[in-house]
Each structure stands twice: as structure tokens, then as C-alpha cells.
């Protein structure tokens, strides 16, 4: 069994995944900043340090109260907020040393895709990763995820969170904007920026925030923001799908919880005869289970690190990590 520890941003989580890729336990605690404020890295890391002991204990207890023993300890080594990453890495090193079990560093973004692929039983998909940290369209080739398209500035999660804060909507922004959007009907013209397979969202954010300050109807604005931002991504996904000719489309990451985005990317996949595999909503956001799932696969491929060589990397690109376990069997 592999114990995974997640602490890249707002969530501290721990989870056990067994050798059959089954999620045995998954315990998470998320730091929620006050309305209108973003994540403060130090405050989030203090939250993680406070809850870590309790979360790990719960993750290591079976439903009948007996304790479970991990064979491998995986921790999220990046990318993410430095102070938060260090909490998870410290917990991982301590457990690895105390239990005398190998330590495995995991890339948080790769882990989002791994858990989505495990659950969907996807083999070699075109992967769409949408979260606060990533907005990327990827295909796997020669041991690594290759970026086919991505955001040139802020991520889709950033866009929705930042607009949500501007409009004083509760965190996370994506869910709040989605709720407001259900009440909107009128499409307001907003900047639509697709450059080849890339998107750029900063102009869209500025325009939407300016209209909000000028008292545009919030529901219509949320509706238009969502339609425009998701259409941009869907178009980039469609281009990438035609170019790469994959027969599976995977949708993962926190923003994958959006029903409207699932509907749109699903429609693109269907249109081109590809099967569509959105990550189940409970595993879309950051969680311990993604790290445990990815850590197990990495360990089976021979990836591990000694405590003294273990590291955290706040900046770490998806295409810099060897992922030899894809295509999946």
C-alpha cells in the first residue's frame, strides 16, 4: 500500500492506495481564506501543520479502527506554494524515516492525471488538466507528457478565483461563478483569445472585472465569463484532438468539477468519435488520493529518493517529469 501526502496549495490530504489501485482511505482538510482574499501561503502552511497529525492518523486507520501499514510513502514535491510544500515533504520524510519505508516524490499535476486515468481506466488519452495551477492540453509520448496547448498567462482556476474575489463570491471561485451563471442568460461580449492551441485569460479577467465594477448584471457576467473562457479552451482542445488523433479525452483537475465544462469538452470528444473520461467530482480537487495513486505507479517504475536527497520544487513543469507508466495497461 502507498501512502500519499498532498500539500501543494490550500489542501492537506493523506490517502492510502493498495496494489490493485484501489483507494482505501482518503482524508483531506482544506484551508479556506476569507471572502475576497486569496490563499496566503504562510497561513495555508500553518493550517497544514496544524491538521497534519490528525489527517495522517485517520488515513492510516481502517474503517474497523485497526491500523494500516503503508509500504511506500509518496509526497507532492511540486509544483506549488513553497511553505505548503515543505509541510508535506517534512511529514513524508519523518514517516519514511520512522517506518523505514521508501520515499517517492510526486508531481502534483501528473498525479491529477494519474488518478483520473486510474478511475476511468484510460490508456493513452489527450489529457486536459484544468485547475488553479494548470491549464494544459497534454499527450504522452516517449516517457513524458508533452504540452500540446496551455495558457500563456493565468490558469482557468486563477481566472474564476480572481473574478470570484473581485465579485465578493465565496471560495472556490469556479463553483460560485458556476452557480451565478445558471441564473444568467444574456451573453455579454468579452475578449476571446485563442492562439493556435494556446489560450490567454488575463484580458478576459480584466474586461469582466471592469464590467463588474461598472455594475453589469452579475449573473449575466458570470454566464458570459464561463461561456467565453470554456469555449476558448474547448476550441483549443478540439484543435489538439484533431492534430493528435487520440481516441480518449481525459478531463482532470479542480475546474473539471464544473458541469458546464464537462458538457462542453464531452461534446468536443463525442464530435470526433473519442471517448470522454471526466474525473469523478470527489477526486477532481486536490486530494491525498492523487498523490498515493501516482506515488504507487512511480515506485513500481523504480522512482524513489533518499531522505537526504528529497526535495520540493515550487516550479516544476509537467514536461520535465519522466512518466514511464503511460500508456497504461
Amino acid at each position: 500500500m502507498c501512502l500519499g501526502i498532498e500539500s501543494t496549495a490550500h489542501t492537506f490530504g493523506a490517502s492510502l492506495v493498495d496494489s490493485d489501485d484501489k483507494i482505501v482511505t482518503n482524508v483531506n482538510s482544506t484551508y479556506r481564506p476569507p471572502v475576497g482574499v486569496g490563499i496566503h501561503p504562510r497561513k495555508a502552511s500553518e493550517h497544514h501543520a496544524t491538521v497534519a497529525d490528525d489527517i495522517v492518523r485517520k488515513a492510516l486507520s481502517a474503517p474497523d479502527g485497526s491500523s494500516l501499514d503503508p509500504d511506500v510513502i509518496a509526497y507532492a514535491a511540486g509544483p506549488g506554494l513553497g511553505p505548503c510544500l515543505r509541510v508535506g515533504a517534512t511529514v513524508g520524510r519523518a514517516l519514511s524515516t520512522f517506518l523505514e519505508k521508501p520515499l517517492v516524490p510526486v508531481h502534483h499535476g501528473v498525479a491529477h492525471l494519474d488518478i483520473a486515468m486510474s478511475i476511468a481506466k484510460a490508456r493513452d488519452p489527450l489529457a486536459v488538466l484544468v485547475s488553479g495551477g494548470h491549464t494544459s492540453i497534454l499527450v504522452h509520448a516517449e516517457k513524458r507528457w508533452r504540452v500540446y496547448g496551455e495558457t500563456q498567462d493565468i490558469t482557468l482556476g486563477n481566472l474564476l478565483d480572481m473574478f470570484g474575489r473581485e465579485a465578493r463570491l465565496p471560495s472556490p471561485g469556479g463553483a460560485s461563478v458556476g452557480r451565478e451563471a445558471m441564473k444568467g442568460q444574456n451573453l455579454i461580449k468579452l475578449p476571446y483569445t485563442v492562439k493556435g492551441n494556446d489560450v490567454a485569460y488575463s484580458g478576459l479577467l480584466t474586461a469582466a472585472a471592469t464590467l463588474f465594477r461598472r455594475h453589469s448584471d452579475l449573473a449575466d457576467l458570470c454566464f458570459s465569463l464561463q461561456e467565453t473562457a470554456f469555449s476558448m479552451l474547448s476550441e483549443a482542445v478540439e484543435r489538439s484532438l484533431v492534430q493528435t488523433r487520440r481516441s480518449e479525452v481525459l478531463l482532470a483537475g479542480g475546474v473539471a468539477a464544473s458541469p458546464r465544462l464537462r458538457e462542453m469538452i464531452g461534446s468536443v470528444a463525442e464530435d470526433h468519435g473519442a471517448s470522454f473520461h471526466p474525473v469523478p467530482i470527489e477526486y477532481s480537487g486536490d486530494c491525498g488520493a492523487q498523490i498515493a495513486c501516482s506515488g504507487r505507479l512511480a515506485f513500481e517504475s523504480g522512482i524513489k529518493v533518499s531522505t537526504s536527497d528529497s526535495f520540493v520544487t515550487p516550479r516544476w513543469r509537467m514536461d520535465e517529469v519522466d512518466v514511464p507508466w503511460i500508456p497504461r495497461a
Partner: protein, 218 residues
């Protein structure tokens, strides 16, 4: 022109348009119809298809006037979001680049560079420059096609996007050595765009590549 009465046979289904083949008089023509996208809000969808049809037709025509190897516009049907252009003979570069010997591939990339230089000098940026949009011609330089994302611009930023996208498509879809391919491309580009523009565009392209998420500051 009215394309509704034209008899055509389906040829290729792209990301945003259907291509079909038809005959008008002695000419074989390509009919490019921008189709409705189910995922997109109908108002946004109509606006995007309308704007791109007009802009693509006029930019292809401008590119032709500037001496670039592009199809000729035969007509447009704005109501149906359709462009009719001349049919080109050749192979899509995405299909044949990896089968080429290194020197042959370098020669191709050099003339692709020359074509991009011609476009940029004419104030046109392609906006979706991948090996799927280059047609290797048996008689003369390669054709550049699909101007659906093109714009008028002389900004190094927009020109840089073109080179960045081409480079990424070579890295992501091909086995040829990317740096050797891009070196050849730049030599061709210099020839038609000039050394000064070439160096500023290439600098920008590298900067754009680093703009992606989580590049360490090195």
C-alpha cells in the same frame, strides 16, 4: 457566391471546418464550411464563424498578393460561412516530415521559413502554424494553408507565436531533431524577413515558450 447548390464530396473534417471537393468550370476547388459547434453558445458561435470566414478569405488573398504560396480565393458565401478556394496538390507535412532524410527535411523547413517571412513582411501572422498546415508541393515551394486564426499584425509578439507554434508542433508530433529543423527554418525566414526581424521574432518565440506554467527562472 451561393455555395448551397454546389455538388461536392467530403474530403476532410478539421477542428472548426469541413473541407469538401467540388468542380467549378475547369477548376477543382476546395469548399471550406465552418460548422456550428454544439458546445458553443449560439450567439458566440455565429459571431466567431462569421468573423473568421471574412477574415480568412481576405487574408489569404492578401498573402497571395504578397507572393506567398497559398490557395487562390474563388469566392465566399458569407451567409453559409463558406469559402471556396483552389485545390492544391501535395502532401501534408505532418504526414511526410518523419519519412524524409534529414537534409530533405531541412530543405523543407528552410522554404517554410521563407514562406512565413513573406507573410510576416506583408503584415500577416498565421496564428495556427503547425506541420498540419503546411502542404509539401511536388512542384515548387510548400503551400501554407488554413488562415482561420490569422490576423494583420507586425508585432514581434504575434510573429513570435507563429514560430513558437511551429516549433512546438515539431517537438510534439515529429521525430526529426527540433533544433536542427528550427535552425533551417530561421535561415529561410531571414532570407525573406531580414536579419533584424528574424532575430527579434526568434527572441520573442523563445520568450513565449518560457511563459508556459512553472518554467523555473533560469
Amino acid at each position: 457566391m451561393d455555395t448551397a447548390s454546389l455538388t461536392s464530396t467530403a474530403l476532410h473534417r478539421g477542428a472548426e471546418a469541413d473541407l469538401s471537393l467540388a468542380t467549378i468550370g475547369p477548376w477543382k476547388v476546395i469548399v471550406k464550411h465552418r460548422v456550428r459547434k454544439e458546445y458553443r453558445n449560439p450567439i458566440l458561435d455565429a459571431q466567431i464563424r462569421h468573423d473568421r470566414t471574412i477574415s480568412e478569405a481576405s487574408l489569404i488573398h492578401e498573402a497571395k498578393t504578397a507572393g506567398a504560396r497559398v490557395p487562390s480565393i474563388v469566392g465566399i458565401d458569407i451567409e453559409n460561412n463558406t469559402i471556396v478556394m483552389t485545390h492544391l496538390t501535395g502532401t501534408v507535412a505532418r504526414e511526410c516530415l518523419d519519412d524524409m532524410a534529414k537534409s530533405e527535411a531541412q530543405k523543407l523547413l528552410r522554404s517554410v521559413g521563407e514562406q512565413i517571412g513573406l507573410l510576416h513582411t506583408a503584415g500577416i501572422v498565421h496564428g495556427d502554424l503547425t506541420t498540419s498546415n503546411v502542404i509539401v508541393s511536388p512542384s515548387g515551394p510548400p503551400f501554407i494553408v488554413d488562415f482561420g486564426m490569422s490576423r494583420r499584425s507586425v508585432e514581434p509578439e504575434d510573429r513570435g507565436v507563429d514560430l513558437h507554434l511551429l516549433q512546438r508542433s515539431i517537438i510534439a508530433s515529429h521525430r526529426q531533431n527540433p533544433s536542427s529543423m528550427m535552425n533551417s527554418m530561421i535561415r529561410g525566414y531571414e532570407k525573406t524577413a531580414g536579419k533584424k526581424v528574424a532575430s527579434s521574432t526568434w527572441r520573442k518565440a523563445r520568450e513565449i515558450a518560457r511563459r508556459g506554467r512553472y518554467f523555473a527562472i533560469r
